[in-house]
Symmetry: C2
Subunit: 330 residues, 2 copies
């Protein structure tokens, strides 16, 4: 911890938010000062201890119970913003369900008069489109918002944008992910988001499923979720970065909910034509030992740092992970 450390808040304290707290713990350039869940928030200017915060959330169900930093409130995000405590930037580790949840939280930030940096690890094209439509409002509010900053969209989208540089024209961007998690209960919201992408399911239907219903579905598939042609914002992000039209971008993957080992190596393949007329494919492959949490939270904070640099230069509005190089957080 240094006096120059960025004061960071994490909204949402499920599997992703808790991992975010752990990722931040050893960092010198960022200090976790605030975190919120559905029923409360905790704030400490000197920094929240990740282990204590996670323990309070797990044992009592909310960060609001964390002594002496917690506040119990069902308007946790609103109240945290209104508290006026210094938070330079937030990672929105919130569920993507419903699809307008993150955009509605963003509206709260705009309305509040708070100025700073927001990053999300949102997945759906339609959610990113809602945020992109708020670009001028964000700019007027003095907020620098970086969207799609997880793994996919995020790390893999940026890799595609980078790889595209070798080509005169991009024919195809194919993202294929493998996720292995030991116990799906730690990622309740994420798994429901995945189910929502399966044939015969909608966002609403997946969200309404009880844990028992999710269990029953997973029993039928031996814990495997196979996903194809998913609605992922990588497509709109690469389109607005001018790399290719969105119909040339596909996202699919396999999630094993009963095994921490990945069923396949997550990768993105970028196929294009060079200026000499050659067709070729660049490939970016993630190491199998890296978890979803590492591949989402690391980039999210890397983009938060980059966003802070933009913010300090007076550059506000909305940007995607395909346009900005994330900065390494020490």
């Amino acid at each position: 911890m240094t006096v120059q450390a960025m004061h960071v808040g994490v909204l949402g304290f499920g599997g992703l938010g808790q991992a975010a707290a752990k990722v931040l713990a050893p960092k010198q350039e960022m200090l976790l000062v605030a975190a919120a869940d559905k029923h409360g928030y905790a704030y400490a200017a000197e920094g929240l201890n990740a282990q204590n915060s996670i323990a309070a959330y797990r044992s009592q169900g909310s960060l609001g119970y964390l002594e002496p930093f917690g506040t119990l409130t069902n308007l946790s995000i609103e109240d945290l913003i209104a508290s006026g405590n210094r938070v330079d930037g937030y990672f929105l580790a919130l569920p993507n369900l419903p699809n307008d949840f993150i955009p509605s939280v963003t509206k709260q930030f705009i309305t509040s008069g708070w100025r700073g940096v927001l990053v999300d690890a949102i997945k759906r094209t339609s959610a990113v489109e809602q945020l992109l439509a708020m670009g001028s409002e964000l700019q007027a509010a003095g907020i620098t918002y970086l969207t799609g900053c997880g793994a996919t969209p995020g790390l893999l989208t940026a890799a595609a944008a980078l790889a595209a540089q070798s080509y005169a024209e991009i024919h195809k961007v194919e993202i294929t992910f493998g996720v292995g998690i030991a116990n799906w209960e730690a990622y309740r919201a994420t798994i429901r988001e995945d189910i929502a992408h399966m044939p015969g399911y909608s966002v609403e239907a997946a969200r309404a499923m009880t844990d028992a219903e999710v269990e029953a579905l997973l029993d039928k598939t031996s814990g495997i979720l196979k996903l194809e042609n998913m609605e992922h914002a990588d497509d709109v992000m690469l389109e607005i970065a001018g790399i290719c039209s969105r119909d040339r971008v596909t996202v699919g993957g396999i999630v094993d909910t009963r095994n921490p080992k990945k069923p396949l190596s997550t990768n993105v393949k970028i196929t294009g034509r060079t200026f000499e007329g050659k067709i070729s494919t660049h490939t970016f492959t993630l190491g199998d030992e890296t978890s979803m949490a590492a591949n989402v939270c690391g980039p999210a904070f890397g983009y938060l740092k980059a966003g802070m640099q933009l913010h300090k230069r007076g550059i506000h509005g909305i940007f995607t992970a395909a346009e900005i190089m994330p900065q390494f957080v020490k």
Copy 2:
């Protein structure tokens, strides 16, 4: 060609500069208006035709002979800058030999009062260090300089910076390139730079070699140059981006000077430790059908476009390819 197209100059018209002209030919966002070689330059506000420029250079030895746009002069770069013609940005496709050649050209730009964007595809650590030391001069001069923007350093360095996001600590960045060229004579300067990296050779010794001497060396190795622990600026670039100390970065490769097929797939491997304590490796691999020219010139212009956006926002000084996301040029 649109009225908003960026007016681009290319300094150096060997293999790389000629490829750059071809890469630019179909672009709408960039117009090649100026190019210079040792003995002259050509300028045309409406754009230089790549084929005609290459034909003039090849048949007569200099762009200075290109009718009606050429000027013969042994101070070609100086005279082109002094001509006062509008050039928004330059790609310095100049030889890296001698090691202070690109820094000395940069001094000319600083002294001239010209304001705009410069990118290079420089290779050596010591050359990039000379440029980094000129950061405040560049900033004061209103120049936005992006260094190390080719393939390695450049595309692969940026991929390493991006991949690093998944990790809490980076242990190793290993760049291994394969290059296949049908006839080394088209890349005389580049091949001498490669030879300079071999045991028993220096930059000066390689530069002083006659074509016959290069031929004789290549005859002994069946046209293969094997390079290890090369002095490549990827190391200093990743160090100043805060990703890892330079001693954790290695660059090596194999150049086949008698076969356009690559002897191995060019790749960068990024090994690190995640926040959970797992050791893993991300890999970015270039498609074998992509040429050195495509992997150098594409990124160089992608960074030139990104540099222009920085320049327009009043952001001047020096940046490396590991800090900035290149933009796709249409």
